[in-house]
Amino acid sequence: MRQFLALIFDAYRELNSKKLFWIILVLSGLTVLVYASIGFNDTGMSLFFGLMDIENEMLTKDSFLSRILYRSIFSTFMIGIWLTWIATILALISTASIFPDMVSGGSIDLLLSKPIGRIKLFFFKYIASMLFVVLQVSIFCVGVFFCLGLRLNDWEWRIFAAIPLVTVFFSYLYSICVLFGVWTRSTLTALLLTFLLWFCTYSINATEAVVNMFKIQFTMEVEAFDEEIATLQNNEVQDNGAIESRLETIQTERDERQVTIDKIDRWHQPVRITQTILPKTGETIALLDRWLRRETDINMMDIFTGGVAMDDQGDFQRAQSRDEDREVERRLEAEYEARSEYFIIGSSLAFEAVVLALACTIFVRRDF
């Protein structure tokens, strides 16, 4: 415990000495400040604590839309863009040097000569390195918690779930950084390879989504053909010749679609297996949105994409439209939401465990 605490304090002091740590902290603070500066009054919305007013009768104080907007800014921009991308990239840049520095000549000698095993040292240092993200996200969450509470009287404790979630998300990437850092002893190489792998993961996820979308689209078409075939077969109209001809055409088209689905499936399966193996960065962060969402919640994206519409009484309701694109989107979303938290985090942590085991093996077996 004494050794662990020493490494935690050391990590804190190291971060404290890094300008980038403070720059990110200030940027985080500014992001929260800008968020806090958004207000709603009787005439509409105000920015920068009233310096700028946007008159809009739908965005007045305590209106339904203003609440949706304020929460959406949090989930879409502050989590989706700031924490997922900008803060993570900066955090990786800040922490990438920790392991290469540790294994550099002269430094590692001092650490290994102490009564601490290599495996213990490796994992203690790894956990201590997470301090960066834990501190940043904690401060961020406290800020956002008060913003939501004071602006919307919405004291949402579940926001603090972002601390473990973002830390876990960061740890997937950081494990890769540590592996390359220990292996190559170069901060720059470790950082570049981490970004490359992150980009690959992102690409695989995007590819899977696109392929899956096509698959769902064609599956829906097959379902439509099946429905039509069933209708035609039950039809009691006497013109059997026309029905037979139509059935034949539909059946041919249906079979063609099915062949296409089979072809897509041949691509989809390996992509999906690869996706299963790789860390689910996007899906992990999306879990926060899933956890924070309430049954009645509607977000700005729903409004922009037409997923909800205003009824005659001026209330927003889920759109009943069954148009094809929206149905594909709905099914896609439903499929991803059907993936449990345990699968998303568990499989990603399994990847992280393998990467860390590899990095630890290199660290333990290497002569310094």
Partner: protein, 331 residues
């Protein structure tokens, strides 16, 4: 890494290290260090000194190593709580102050918090760094780094202190201070294992030395033992050498210049020189000086690294040849 009970502070047997399957850095090293002594390890560059030290400190994994350190097998991590180590070219965390460095490494060595504070202040004072304890290490000179590094090695009040080039970059005053600290530690019963290139400094403090050449111990023992064969008396007299000198065994003469010559009497026993002095006086020779002489550590070192057959000095670095035969001057 097998262990065996031992009364030595360091007792190494068959320590072998081969890099990448072909470079023999260490070949079956046998080395013993007694408790409470200052032991000097020397050798040319690439002889394997640092590899040996790193194996003892678990920084490098040996291919084979038998023996003990403080009675526990080599590589026993918990024993390292009783060992202090200053590596060569050490890099201290630049974001810490001197005091924080001491406390950080002491915490890793299981030193309790209260003791860390007290001891760090004491050691900063001992090392002449008390005014610098609260300043960042990044602002230190090389000599200061070395002093803090040495203090760091002493934070856990170790029984064994392993120092790799402790006076590297330290000014003469600092060197003397470090030397004094080492002698004081020896007085306290600590064992010190010293790896240094500065032969004159080793000579001043070491009780025993070992010379490593191409991964093998060429020689080890006390300085007296190692230089016994070369111990002699030298009498410088005016004029030419007497003719009877060459006829007596154990005596030889060397002409220094036209007016002086040197009579050399081999051995550490002062008795034989009395007869020679009597004889010289009888011949009314003017005796300019009489002094006991022994080989310096540098002479010993040069002899150890020189091939007696060819007279060539060993090439630096470990040899890829695994069949190298020892050519040492074992005492």
């Amino acid at each position: 890494m097998k262990s065996q009970s031992s009364d030595y502070a360091i007792d190494l047997h068959d320590v072998r290290k081969i890099y990448r399957g072909k470079i023999h850095a260490l070949r079956d090293i046998q080395m013993q260090v007694h408790p409470g002594e200052i032991f000097g390890l020397l050798g040319p560059n690439g002889a394997g000194k640092s590899t040996l030290v790193k194996i003892m400190m678990t920084v490098v994994r040996p291919n084979r190593a038998h023996g003990t350190i403080l009675g526990k097998s080599i590589g026993h991590k918990r024993t390292l709580a009783r060992v202090g180590y200053l590596p060569e070219h050490h890099r201290l965390p630049s974001y810490l102050t001197g005091q924080q460095v001491l406390e950080f490494y002491a915490a890793l060595a299981h030193v309790p918090g209260g003791v860390r504070k007290k001891r760090s202040r004491e050691l900063l004072k001992t090392m002449g760094m008390d005014d610098w304890g609260n300043k960042k290490v990044s602002s230190y000179s090389k000599g200061m780094m070395q002093r803090i590094g040495l203090a760091q090695a002493l934070m856990n009040d170790p029984d064994l202190i392993v120092l790799d080039e402790p006076t590297d970059g330290v000014d003469p005053v600092g060197r003397r201070d470090i030397r004094d600290v080492l002698l004081e530690l020896r007085e306290m019963g600590k064992t010190i294992f010293l790896n240094s290139h500065l032969l004159s400094e080793l000579e001043m403090v070491c009780d025993r030395v070992a010379i490593l050449v191409q991964g093998e111990v060429a020689t080890q023992g006390t300085l007296d033992d190692l230089t016994r064969e070369s111990q002699r008396y030298e009498i410088i007299i005016a004029g030419t050498a007497p003719s009877w000198i060459e006829t007596k065994s154990g005596l030889r003469a060397e002409t220094l210049d036209d007016d002086r010559c040197k009579v050399i009497i081999m051995g550490a026993d002062p008795q034989p020189i009395q007869t020679v002095l009597d004889q010289l006086r009888q011949e009314n020779r003017i005796i300019l000086s009489v002094q006991p002489v022994r080989e310096t550590l540098e002479d010993l070192f040069m002899r150890a690294i020189t091939d007696p057959a060819t007279g060539e000095i060993s090439s630096p670095g470990a040899s890829p040849n695994s069949n190298r035969k020892s050519k040492g001057v074992r005492a």
